[in-house]
């Protein structure tokens, strides 16, 4: 799985990626300099939990993808079974191109069958 994340990190503007469960358990991580695995895992799991709780309240199922753009960076969360692929990106990248690479990586991780319930 780390190999898939490393390959994904080669894409333009990708600063790091991680597979983390909703409870904050880190399954795999490949983060660039300046990114702490503990912080990313805590922030990502907190965000996913909170979003899913809010969606479920309105009778919606859990999120399948979330692209968050902030002033100085972007984060993508993609559902890959019982965990989520979390990718941290530079603010200036072309999302359309990078999202294809992220979705492909998510598909490959899902296909590995390692993190099914």
């Amino acid at each position: 799985m780390n190999e898939i994340l490393s390959e994904l990190n080669q894409e333009v503007g990708v600063k790091g990626s991680m597979v983390v469960t909703q409870d904050g358990i880190v399954v795999a991580t490949e983060l660039g300099p300046g990114l702490s695995a503990d912080v990313v895992a805590a922030v990502a799991s907190g965000a996913i939990q909170s979003i899913n709780q809010n969606l479920n309240k309105l009778g919606q199922p859990n999120l399948s993808k979330f692209v968050l753009e902030a002033g100085f960076g972007k984060i993508v969360f993609i559902d890959i079974g019982i965990a989520y692929l979390v990718v941290i990106l530079d603010q200036r990248i072309n999302m359309d191109v990078t999202l294809i690479a992220i979705s492909a990586a998510a598909y490959r991780i899902r296909q590995m069958g390692q993190i099914r319930a």
Binding site: L58, Q60, L63, L68, E69, A70, G71, F72, Q91
Partner: protein
Amino acid sequence: MGWFSWLPWNKRRDLEKLEAEARRNTSPATLSTLAEKYYQSGEYNNAVECVRRAVERFPDSPKVKEIHAQIMRLHNQQTLAKLQKEIETRPKAETYARLADLYYRDMNDLNRALELANEGLEKFPESEDLHLLTGLIRFVRYQADRLSQDGLKCIEHLESASRANPMNYKACAMLARMFTEVGAFDRAGTQLNNILRFAPDDEKARRLVDKLQGKEPLGTDIEELFKNVQLGGTNEECRDLANIFPIEYNKGQAAPARLDPQLAASHVADFKRVEGAKAAMVMDESGKVVGSFAASGSSAELAEMIWNIYTGSEDSARRMDIGSFKRGILEAPGMRLHMVEAGGHLIAVVTTKTTRDEVVRTALNSYIDTVLKA
């Protein structure tokens, strides 16, 4: 277009009409059109000045951002290429600083500016210019979002610049301002007294020194002080004190445009035209719904869900040190939620999963440009 519209005096007359229109109705649309026309007519300096003003006034307008980027890239392309080449062939701290400064001041691209300054500092860790510029960019970011990480990095770099040159006025002035804003009055006083040693006639510095005389600092741990501001907002007394000693870091003085609540409410129904739109709503900074439509279900429950997701996302972005929330697209089976922060408001559109993101993005951009008011 008439047969003789190419004649210079006819072109100028057209521009004068647009100038008058932009004065009468200052909006993202009028300023963008005027800037484009200036550029097409060869009035490059006017075009640059116009987009600069437009981006200061309407920093959230997608149209303005696009025109600004286009014109500034064209305007600076030769200098950018020259400096980039110099960095590749014979890198110097000054070249990194000039290029980073160009991205910061002219291109409005703080990220690239910060990247370049950091890259330069890796090669030239003692550079006063690069520390000063990095401190300035963090200062600007801090003024926008009040993130403690930006504040602490700002202090770190400005102190390095000040160590390299104890008479660096800008570094000392920004440090004094930052320390005052968070209540570290003792440290602000040290910087101000330093300024007065080499600039004894600085009236503003003297006034602030007098005001800070005998004032107890709000704490001694600078990290704690910045965190307190991030969590609880700026202390009003500190802000008033800091305003005695203003720093001209911004390119202009105009306050950024905000969403006009009445226009925002009346135009929210425009989203009904987006195929597959299920609901749309606009909320102010406190989460109060300014305008909405929902094809079915309770819009109050939907508003609560959207607001919770937005505040959670904002918190995540801040904790990850990537600034404040700007846009988001959330996908769940059967629905998509598009959110944009603009002009002090949150605009959200819920669509079916089949609605193309591009269609919603265009509708949102058009809506923002319509309801932003100077």
